[in-house]
């Protein structure tokens, strides 16, 4: 019998779900065994099933979900030792007899960006090499011209996965053709160009890039190196959020290994003219730095404030050198495209959106996590088939795409395909892949207020329309959620939205009104309910709701009174209790603690 491999997923989600003690137990029990090797791998995307343990034997893979120490013992005793599969915890396998509970979700996916995630140990370059790692880089350096590489990327139809969807090949061509690349005084060899990776994943609700960097950092490095070859760049920078410590750690380990392996540095793959190295620049917490000119200012060490374009970064970027900026997911696609050919990539997708898109599925769904689906799949399929539908059998209300720059798509538009143009037509944007699902218990006015509060805080302050306009919009929304809104507020919001879009320099300001505009477009009734009826239909806005106890059903257990943080509930033991609405802070703790469900919200 060949060696059995047992792996555990330890990306951030795995660790947060308690994966570390399981990993330690696993290593303790299996270390020293000749017939078994253990591995710490990254994220498979089934975050709702974490921690995940995988047994690989005789070429067959069995993934177990919700593995605590007890389940781990069973996996070792029964599967590893006696070859008996534990059906209750099996979520995936390639063994036809036991498909596992999550096989339908797996079947919907096409894993290009996530080809290695959750399968390899991200801290070992040998694992990446074993899965065709750096073969694409070797192929471009040894057999392809710069034009060939750009043509291949253009033919694949790959577009920027950061959200705007600009064709990657075209971006590379601009950077290659940049006039500043001609040798001049500041740039004597004409090779002083920058290849930047935007890993400042600031959309609150998105975690695709974190997962790729944690689980498969070499694929991003290889993608950047291929791009550097194509545009003729010698410097690389990965601008990564400081909030992602594991991603930064894994990147730095991978960069060190790539240098030792000769995939970074001087004369890569024997080409004396190809010198390229990368360093990681940690962001310091500013959403606007995802905007490319702000990101450049931040790399240069200053306040991350955007500047007008032109000049575009392709002509004048980091330290005024020609600069190409792509996002993590874009780069991670590149090695696969080079190795498998543009056609293999462009066969997925519809219209001008080719390939796949990774989504971070979150919110009120049953199966949160990461999923990579072919472009063109409908939002309905993503939410109901891949993400498992709405949790607790509640009713779907909207899906928020693109974070603070995006919008809410309602039920009747759920057949919209995942495609840049189709999603833009709804008023939302594809964005970087954050998908937050909302159910009937989510108040869309509150969500609009939430996003406005976010962009207002993150506005860099340069453009008055963005700085002051978002503030005024936020004040109006706050008024509405407090029940102090008036009918004219709707027009005011719409006017302000149009002005902020026109009067802002960068993407942050230009898109900041999107969450308000889309909710006004699709959920105007809810705004009107807040303004005219002073009611929050979703029962979220604290000033518009009231908690009360049904005295006929209250058993007087006192649990609610004990839970109440402000002592607003009174009543004798075994007597019906009552809530003093003036004291009540609408936290809902009483309702959560009531054993007979006699507390209601109106």
């Amino acid at each position: 019998m060949s060696k059995t491999t047992v792996t555990i997923g330890l990306a951030s989600c795995g660790v947060a779900s308690g994966g570390l003690p399981v990993a330690e137990e696993m290593e303790k029990l299996l270390s020293g065994r000749e017939d078994v090797e253990t591995k710490r791998v990254g994220c498979l995307g089934y975050c709702y099933m974490e921690p995940l343990v995988t047994v690989i034997r005789d070429g067959q893979t069995y993934v177990y979900g919700k593995v605590d120490v007890d389940v781990l013992h069973r996996i070792i005793d029964e599967h590893v030792d006696k070859n008996q599969i534990i059906k209750e915890n099996l979520i995936l396998s390639d063994d036809g007899g036991f498909p596992g509970s999550e096989s339908a979700r797996a079947a919907k996916q096409v894993r290009i960006v996530l080809r290695n995630s959750g399968l390899i140990d991200p801290q070992k370059i040998s694992e990446y090499m074993a899965r065709d790692g750096y073969k694409s880089l070797e192929k471009v350096v040894k057999t392809m011209s710069r034009d060939d590489v750009i043509k291949e990327v253009l033919d694949s139809g790959l577009r920027g996965r950061g959200g705007a969807g600009f064709p990657t090949g075209m971006k590379w061509r601009f950077a290659r053709d940049s006039k500043c690349a001609e040798p001049n005084e500041a740039n004597p060899n004409g090779t002083d160009k920058y290849m930047v990776c935007n890993a400042d994943e600031g959309d609150p609700g998105a975690f695709m890039d974190r997962s790729v960097l944690e689980s498969d950092p070499h694929s991003v490095i290889e993608g950047m190196a291929i791009g550097a070859y194509a545009v003729g760049a010698s410097h690389g920078v990965i601008y990564c959020r400081a909030e992602y410590p594991m991603a930064i750690k894994h990147l730095n380990i991978a960069l060190g290994q790539a240098r030792i392996g000769g995939y970074l540095g001087k004369g890569i793959f024997g080409d004396p003219n190809f010198n390229f190295d990368i360093y990681v620049k940690e962001g310091a917490g500013a959403f606007v730095c995802g905007e490319e000119t702000a990101l450049i200012a931040s790399i240069e060490g200053g306040r991350g404030m955007p500047r007008p374009r032109p000049p575009f970064p392709a002509n004048s970027g980091v330290w005024k050198k020609p600069t190409n900026i792509n996002n993590v997911e874009t780069y991670a696609n590149v090695p696969w495209i080079i190795l498998n050919g543009a056609m293999a990539f462009s066969k997925y997708g519809i219209g001008r959106s080719r390939g796949t898109k990774v989504f971070a599925l979150a919110g009120k769904i049953n199966k949160g996590g990461l999923a990579e689906v072919p472009m063109g799949m409908s939002l309905r399929e993503v939410i109901f088939d891949v993400a498992g539908g709405i949790e607790n059998d509640r009713k779907f209300k909207a899906v928020q795409l693109g974070g603070p720059s995006g919008g809410c798509v309602p039920e009747n538009l759920l057949d919209t395909p995942v495609d840049y143009e189709s999603i833009n037509a709804t008023g939302a944007i594809m964005g970087s892949g954050g998908m937050v699902v909302m159910d009937e218990d989510t108040c869309v006015v509150d969500v609009a207020r939430f996003f406005l509060a976010f962009v207002q805080k993150e506005s860099c302050g340069k453009c008055p329309f963005c700085r002051i306009g978002t503030k005024r919009m936020l004040e109006i929304l706050e008024r509405i959620t407090k029940g102090e809104g008036v009918m004219e507020d709707i027009d005011k919001l719409q006017n302000l939205a149009a002005q902020i879009k026109d009067g802002s320099l960068c993407g942050l300001g230009q898109t900041a009104p999107n969450p308000v505009q889309t909710t006004l477009r699709y959920f105007k009734d809810e705004y009107l309910a807040h303004i005219a009826d002073k009611k929050c239909p979703a029962k979220v806005c604290g000033d518009l709701i009231r908690y009360s106890i049904d005295a006929s059903r209250c058993v007087g257990c006192t649990k609610c009174a004990k839970a109440c943080p402000v002592s607003a509930i009174t009543g004798e033991l075994k007597q019906p209790h009552s809530i003093d609405s003036a004291l009540c802070v609408r936290c809902g703790l009483c309702k959560n603690n009531c054993p007979v469900s006699c507390i209601s919200v109106e």
Binding site: S12, C13, V15, A16, S17, C47, Y48, E201, G202, D203, P204, G205, A206, F207, R210, A242, E243, Y244, P245, E282, G283, A284, G285, A286, F287, S298, I299, E300, G301, G302, R303, G304, M305, W319, A360, L361, A362, G363, K364, G368, G369, Q400, G434, V436, M438, T442, V447, F450, F451, F454, E458, C460, A563, P565, V566, V585, C587, G588, L589, N592
Partner: protein, 162 residues
Amino acid sequence: MAVAISDMSAKLDPIVEKYRGKQGVAIPLLADVQNEVGYVAQDALKYVGVELGIPAAELFGVATFYAMFRFQPQGKHVVRLCRGTACHVQGSARIAEQLERTLGVKDGETTEDLMFTIAHVACLGCCSLAPVMMVDSSVHGRLTPEKAIEVLDELRKEGVSC
């Protein structure tokens, strides 16, 4: 809180030397100062500014632009409550209120006993476990207001016993 100049040079000179003569250093420089001193102290900022020939106003401008930098000493434990979209729709505002009621401090403030600093952050990237908070370096997911307080109570107990 003033720091004696002699203390300051011992602490900050190695940092100053690390960045002398380099360009674009403000962010990592400030991060190192914060790590060493515990926060971006005004005196420290002036000191490194003079040594490196960068106006203190410029450093201050950079420091106030980014969420990572703080201008007050922080508590023993830093509680980063995620206020991202996924956490928001899963009720993180209720947790924020509960933390505020229980600890008596708001976002960005530190309890009087210097035990906890509360920081609201945009997203911790653990959206599938929402609502989430990170206490020091450990992430706690699927929180309720009660569970959040239990986590802090545990830390308080540990603090007393050791």
